[in-house]
């Protein structure tokens, strides 16, 4: 009966593992009661599955050209039609999930820790360290994200790696602000004082006692930000500064379809639906997570 429902929901868990699993179970239960959050989670799962199983799900090669079938409307062998080189749009959209997932994960992996550490250090030490770090953060925050990312990509050169770096540069300041606010709320609490009196170094206090407490608000914020990251990446791809052809990146695919939008609408429209579905999925999931993990926001939003 190790993983029974009762064991998970026990009020006095016997081990750390049991407590953690119990908490996770409760969060999942609460999420399950929110239909939009379930839809969101399903979409995000579908994105991950599509990325992992792309070779199985795709009906054609994402890059193979078939000029005799160029610009075929949706239907029959080509579920979403073909583009100007006769490539199957459905297969390209499926493979595009890999790129989107990679961008989203890499930006989160770069930006969230940077923001977390900057914010926690600023909040923990206070004083001039706080003022300098937050001053820099505020300057980045005061710029429109897309413009900042565009300017950095212009400097670094087009390409998907540089696009990821540029988006990460534009994204971290939001996390720093949140981490600082969270840190300030328990900076002066007794458990921090107790650890400090035991002689823990600031590094230890921040890494082991402050950062873990910031994670849940960080998870909410990162999930809610995902839509924005996807849209910015697609925008860079659309302008031609992100993923380069023949990569089946959704934004770049829309850009190719732009020339045919008036007659062959599906070339530009189909990848757009993929972007909308995935972004909406992250929005729904983020909203749901916020309601569960952050009771302050409650029913609003």
């Amino acid at each position: 009966m190790a993983f029974s429902r009762d064991w998970l929901l026990e009020d006095s868990p016997g081990s750390r593992l049991q407590a953690r699993l119990g908490r996770l179970y409760r969060v999942l239960l609460a999420l399950g009661r929110n239909p939009l959050a379930v839809i969101g989670a399903a979409i995000v799962l579908a994105l991950i599955l599509a990325a992992l199983a792309a070779p199985l799900l795709a009906t054609h090669s994402p890059t193979a050209q078939n000029l005799s079938a160029r610009l075929t409307p949706p239907g029959g062998a080509y579920w979403m039609g073909t583009d100007e080189l006769g490539r199957d749009i459905y297969s390209r959209v499926i493979y595009g999930a890999q790129i989107t997932l990679a961008i989203v994960l890499l930006v989160a992996v770069i930006a969230a820790p940077v923001g977390l550490i900057v914010g926690a250090v600023a909040g923990y030490f206070g004083g001039w360290i706080d003022r300098i770090l937050m001053g820099i953060t505020d300057i980045f925050l005061s710029m429109p994200k897309l413009i900042l990312a565009l300017a950095f990509v212009a400097a670094l050169g087009p390409g998907i790696e540089n696009a990821i770096i540029a988006i990460a540069i534009a994204t971290w300041p939001g996390y720093a602000r949140i981490a600082r606010a969270e840190t300030l709320t328990f900076r002066n609490s007794e458990f921090i004082a107790a650890v400090e009196l035991q002689g823990a170094s600031p590094f230890r206090v921040i890494a082991l006692h402050i950062l873990p407490l910031c994670t849940s608000s960080m998870i909410i914020r990162v999930t809610l930000d995902m839509a924005g990251i996807i849209l910015t990446a697609a925008g860079l791809g659309f302008i031609g500064l992100g993923a380069q052809p023949p990569l089946p990146e959704w934004g770049a695919m829309i850009s190719r379809g732009r020339a045919f939008i008036l007659d062959q609408w599906w070339v530009a429209t189909m990848p757009g639906f993929a972007i909308i579905a995935v972004s909406l999925g992250f929005c729904f999931l983020g909203d749901g997570l916020r309601d569960v993990l952050d009771p302050k926001h409650g029913e609003k939003g």
Partner: protein, 361 residues
């Protein structure tokens, strides 16, 4: 397209001078001074970012002048003339000085000073963003109020989904679909560009705003044509501000409707319509002003994509064209101007909030 402005930066808390009568005046003065200092520092930071970006560019600015076959002596001389041999802080000060004098360098692709280019294209963006925000406010505020007053109903759910769509639909995609539908299929609006070629140049550019200029000239044909061109891109842009404004209005209204004074009004028998519009709506006007300001600033960002789709000769189109031509002076100049306007609107709505809300004074 995310048009949610990145939360207005809270002004630093200022020391409150003791003493009552003198205190209040001083406090307000130091409040204004504090904001001005923050604004100045933010602008300086913005300049530091664009300067830094200009420095990390892999393209050697000297090479673009002398070419890659120039002898070393020529290269060194040009490098010196361009001031690139000076220490970085000195170069930065020179850069700040240039920008303050309105010198943003010369665009490689147009051959004109960047500042002239920008002042020529900016009105087009302003015109589109202004109509966009008007559409956003006119539809977004009532939608938010209706959603909040019918909380949980299907209407509320539908408005919530519209709000979330504003965060998940790519602006360039919506623009393309709009063109395919309303221009190509239904012929309701005119296609890309600001005006038909036939009408181009008929009206003297006084303000640079096509609608205003054509009215000033009394040419209604040009006006009608300009409206035909403007209405679709402005509506697409307006959709994104509508989504954000509706979402925020709903959330503000829900806050108010759960307050006790609203219950009191209802108990007293005030008709629901009056409870909503006279009692609950009034207090949210102040935070709404800030939201609208932030949304207006956010439209600048959205206009980059929309202008590219609609070949709209504004600052966004200028920026993307410059990006593709690796025209760094133009890129940094446009970034700087967009950033500065963005910061300016943000700070202005922040100050307006302080002025309007007695509790924030």
């Amino acid at each position: 397209m995310t048009l949610e402005p990145h939360s207005a930066v809270p002004a630093p808390s200022l020391p409150v001078p003791p003493g009552r009568a003198r205190g209040r005046a001083l406090r307000r003065l130091s409040g204004v001074a504090g904001i001005l200092v923050t604004v100045a520092l933010t602008f300086l930071g913005l300049l530091a970012i664009t300067f830094f970006i200009g420095r990390v560019v892999p393209i050697d600015p000297v090479l673009s002048v002398v070419g890659d076959r120039a002898p070393q002596a020529v290269y060194d001389r040009v490098r010196e003339e361009m001031g690139l041999d000076r220490p970085l802080p000195v170069q930065f000060l020179a850069y700040v000085g240039d920008v303050l004098q309105g010198d943003l360098g010369t665009s490689v692709s147009t051959g004109r000073p960047v500042i002239d280019d920008l002042s020529r294209v900016f009105p087009a963006t302003l015109e589109m963003a202004t109509l966009g925000i008007l559409i956003g406010v006119a539809l977004g505020v009532p939608m938010g109020v209706v959603a909040a007053s019918h909380q949980g109903s299907w209407l509320d759910q539908a408005i919530r989904v519209v709000g979330l769509l504003g965060y998940s639909v790519p602006a360039f995609w919506l623009g393309l679909v709009g063109l395919a539908l309303f221009y190509a299929r239904l012929h309701w609006v005119s296609g890309p560009g600001r005006i038909d070629i036939f009408y181009d140049g008929l009206v003297a550019p006084v303000t640079g705003l096509m609608l205003v200029d054509s009215l000033l000239a009394g040419d209604l044909d040009v006006f009608a044509n300009a409206v035909q061109h403007l209405v679709l891109p402005a509506s697409v842009l307006g959709f994104f501000s509508l989504a954000y404004i509706a979402r925020m209005t709903r959330s503000f209204m829900l806050d108010q409707l759960s307050q006790e004074y609203v219950t009191t009004a209802r108990v007293k028998g005030v008709p629901e319509r009056l409870v909503i519009w006279r009692h609950a709506f009034r207090p949210i006007l102040v935070p709404l002003v800030t939201v609208i300001g932030l949304s207006y600033a956010g439209l600048l960002e959205g206009s980059v994509m929309i202008e590219t789709i609609f070949s709209w000769p504004g600052i966004g189109n200028y920026l993307t064209t410059a990006l593709l031509n690796a025209d760094m002076n133009a890129v940094l100049g446009a970034t700087l101007v967009i950033g500065a306007v963005f910061i300016g609107i943000n700070k202005a709505s922040d100050m307006l909030y302080r002025l309007l809300d007695p509790r924030a004074r």
